[in-house]
Amino acid sequence: MTVVFWILAVITVVGGVAAVTLKNTVHCALALTAAFAGLAFLFLQLDAQFVGFAQILVYIGAVAILVVFAILLTRGSEKPERGVFSRTWLAGLLIAAAVFAVLSWAVLSSAAALPGAGEVPAPSVSVAQIGNALMGRYVLPLEILALLLTAAMIGAVLVALHEKGVRK
């Protein structure tokens, strides 16, 4: 395991922890962005360049901004009276811990943990290949995705639209 991996892993994890624990919601959004960035670099480390750049473009470029907008529109930046965590935060924490325990147990006890299974030569993937795959083998999911994005866009607009006569 290379040093780069560890640094990137730390960035991602710390970003994630910060995203869910900070009191100021805007700070959370920014920490989230940092986590996204760490993940993008991890993708690059994994020789999945297309995915990494797509991550940067979509997540950091669109989703994080969207989150910030939503925070601002719902006055989430104001500090709530009763604290940021729910009354029964411990139960949630424990469940999350249980999930992590199960997953890591699965990973560590599986064949992937055996030594010698990690040295696989890096694949060389060109964007042309990806384009061909998208238009060839994966054309149906692509089209459906287009439909989905259209529907989501229309839906989001409709849901968030001000209705006539509804008080602000």
Binding site: S86, A91, G92, I95, A96, A98, V99, V102, L103, W105, A106, S109
Partner: protein
């Protein structure tokens, strides 16, 4: 002398015998129809009753003619129609009817006298509002009586016997609003029932011995030689044979129905009923049913009789009859109610008939029955006419001098009275009574009955003269104006009077037609020479003298004098203690009241106590237990069932409330549960794949 018991073999049933059942059936059907009518339909009711009985009478005459023809041609008629009524296993009970001379004469008499009395009732009951009910009961009675007459089975006879008893009860208590009438009806029914218990015992015993209750049944019947012989061989208690014992038990039933000595108490009280009822039922027919029964089962009574001797059964019958005859005649002397005198006279004459059966056989007894039916019913109807004409007055001391006001009634009544007394030669009563006296005189077992019966004849003449002088001679002591009765009442009187004289012809020694008809011998016109029979003329003179002496004695005491009701009777002045005993009917009713009735009331009180305390207590106890059980159930139900159920429902509700908390409405709760589920699933999956 007793006639030898001859057995007449059965002949094949002819046409008339086949429809003989119609004779009792028609009046019974008429009774049923009348019962459905409403009260105002009087003419229809009377018409139905009289019409049906007239039709029965016509059929009876046809049957009589058939029997007569058979007798005349030398082939005696005894035809039966039998059928099985009930079957149990291999044996069964049979019913049927018979047509023989005995049945034929009885049928003719019952239907003829009955018809005349029905017509008389139209006038007598004209003012009664229950006219329709009266004819319904009368018709039912006529049908049942005719059923008794033609029955060939002891069971059928018993059934009709009981119906006759029932109608007697209904008619005695016809004016049931009167307490005395209701009590008299009850008394009649219970007293005859007492006799019927022994009758039923006899029937059962007979059935057990011979396996059949039919009289004549192609050689297998009870009155045929085979059965009689078998019963004679079977010994019973007290030195009797089964035949004799059964005969005596059956006679006990006749004692009740015909008012013989211990069970005579109901007959005088039965005068509470309307006078036509007294005439028909308690003079001519129903009370004669007992005599008819004894005549019918005579072979049983006379089984084993040696020529010139007698059997125990016949001995008992003779003595009971003779004693009753005198007993009742004595009481009749001291009675003041016109119908009561006649009632006791009936009891006395029934005693004569029974004695006649015992002494001289079927012919002698039956002849007196037939003649008595005519003149006794005539006497009763005449009494009814007197009561009707003097405005419902029944006490003889308040009547008198009616000879002038009611001539037709007087004439017919006088004829009947002379017939009853046995006035020589002209009247039928003389011949029938003389036949009995003659048999008594010739009896081999003693002369006791003869003297009793002669004494009875004297008393009969005496009390009848007393009654006639009180009612028809002297001055009228009643209230209002006496008048003659309407034609619808006097014409039957005249008809009956004719027969009271004419019937004597068939029973004289000159031409003993009746006797030979019944006993199936040849009737010989003997002419005056028949009177030369030794002792006969002497007997006739003796009885004539007795009768005339009795009438004379009565006239001396009572003739043409008219003492008022408050003065003591002439005989009373002469013999006060005797008068008192006789006037109180020899205290028989009081004796019964002190013994049997008292015991019965004590027993009723015991039963009442048992019922209220013992059985009632047990019922109350069971009820209390049930109440307890019910309370226990309620307790269990309320506390355990309800409580438990309610508790369960509450728990369920609470549980539901608990579970409903899962639906908090908060999205994060759902998420948590989802994640938990994922964890569990993952664990399961990994374990199962690892394992």
């Amino acid at each position: 002398m007793q006639e030898a018991v001859q057995f007449v073999p059965q002949t094949a049933a002819s046409g008339i015998t086949g429809i003989l059942w119609l004779i009792p059936a028609m009046p019974i059907v008429a009774a049923g129809l009348i019962a459905l009518l409403k009260q105002p339909r009087r003419r229809l009711a009377a018409g139905l009753a009289i019409g049906s009985l007239a039709a029965s009478m016509v059929l009876a005459f046809v049957a009589f003619g058939h029997v007569l023809a058979g007798w005349a041609s030398g082939h005696a008629v005894r035809e039966t129609v039998n059928f099985t009524w009930m079957r149990f296993g291999t044996s069964g009970v049979g019913l049927g009817w018979v047509l023989d001379p005995l049945a034929a004469v009885m049928m003719v008499m019952v239907s003829f006298v009955g018809l005349l009395i029905f017509i008389y009732s139209v006038g007598y009951m004209a003012h009664d509002e229950n006219y329709t009910r009266f004819f319904c009961f009368l018709s039912l009675f006529a049908g049942a009586m005719l059923g008794v007459v033609i029955a060939n089975s002891l069971l059928l006879l018993f059934m009709c016997w009981e119906i006759v008893g029932l109608t007697s009860y209904l008619l005695i208590g016809f004016w049931y609003q009167k307490p005395s009438a209701a009590a008299a009806a009850k008394k009649a029914f219970i007293t005859t029932r007492f006799g019927d218990v022994f009758f039923l015992l006899g029937i059962v015993w007979l059935f057990a011995q011979t396996g059949t209750l039919l009289f004549y049944s192609q050689g297998a019947g009870n009155l045929e030689p085979l059965a009689i012989g078998m019963l004679l061989q079977t010994p019973a208690k007290l030195g009797l044979s089964a035949a004799g014992a059964i005969g005596l038990l059956i006679f006990a039933g006749a004692v009740g129905k015909s008012g013989q000595l211990p069970l005579h108490v109901w007959l005088p009280d039965a005068m509470e009923g309307p006078t036509p009822v007294s005439a028909l039922i308690h003079a001519a027919t129903m009370v004669a049913a007992g005599v008819y029964l004894v005549a019918r089962v005579y072979p049983l009574m006379a089984a084993g009789v040696l020529p010139g001797g007698t059997t125990t059964a016949l001995l008992v019958i003779t003595w009971v009859g003779a004693v009753t005859a005198v007993f009742a005649a004595l009481i009749a002397i001291a009675q003041n109610d016109i119908k009561r005198i006649l009632a006791y006279s009936t009891v006395s004459q029934l005693g004569y008939m029974m004695a006649g059966l015992g002494l001289g056989g079927v012919a002698v007894g039956m002849f007196h029955l037939i003649t008595h039916a005519f003149f006794k019913s005539l006497l009763f109807l005449g009494a009814g006419s007197v009561i009707h004409g003097s405005h419902e007055e029944q006490d003889v001391r308040r009547l008198g001098g009616l000879r002038k006001y009611m001539p037709v009634t007087f004439a017919t009544y006088a004829i009947a009275m002379l017939a009853l007394c046995g006035f020589p030669l002209v009247f039928s009563g003389f011949w029938s009574k003389d036949a009995i006296l003659e048999s008594a005189h010739k009896w081999h077992a003693g002369q006791g009955p003869y003297f009793l019966l002669v004494f009875g004849a004297l008393l009969t003449a005496f009390y009848m003269t007393r009654q006639v002088s009180y009612v028809f001679f002297g001055q009228y002591r009643g209230h209002g104006h006496a008048h003659e009765s309407p034609r619808v009442m006097t014409v039957p009187l005249a008809l009956l009077a004719f027969f009271a004289i004419a019937l004597g012809v068939v029973g004289t020694p000159m031409w003993p037609w009746f006797r030979s008809f019944l006993l199936d011998t040849h009737a010989v016109w003997g002419g005056l020479a028949s009177f030369k029979e030794p002792g006969l003329l002497a007997l006739m003179l003796t009885s004539s003298a007795i009768v005339l002496f009795g009438i004379g004695l009565g006239w001396v005491f009572y003739g043409n004098k008219s003492p008022s009701a408050e003065e003591p009777d002439a005989l009373e002045r002469a013999m006060p203690p005797v008068w008192r005993t006789l006037s109180n009917r020899m205290y028989v009713d009081e004796l019964y009241g002190a013994t049997i009735i008292a015991f019965y009331e004590w027993w009723a009180r015991v039963a009442d106590w048992l019922d209220r305390r013992l059985w009632g207590g047990m019922v109350a106890g069971v009820t209390w237990l049930f109440g307890l059980w019910a309370q226990l159930n309620r307790f269990l139900d309320e506390n355990f069932v309800n409580g438990g159920f309610d508790k369960g429902c509450e728990e369920l509700s609470a549980g539901g409330g608990l579970i409903a908390r899962v639906q908090s409405g908060r999205a994060q709760t759902y998420l948590r549960l989802l994640a938990l589920g994922v964890v569990i699933l993952a664990v399961i999956l990994i374990w199962s794949s690892r394992g």
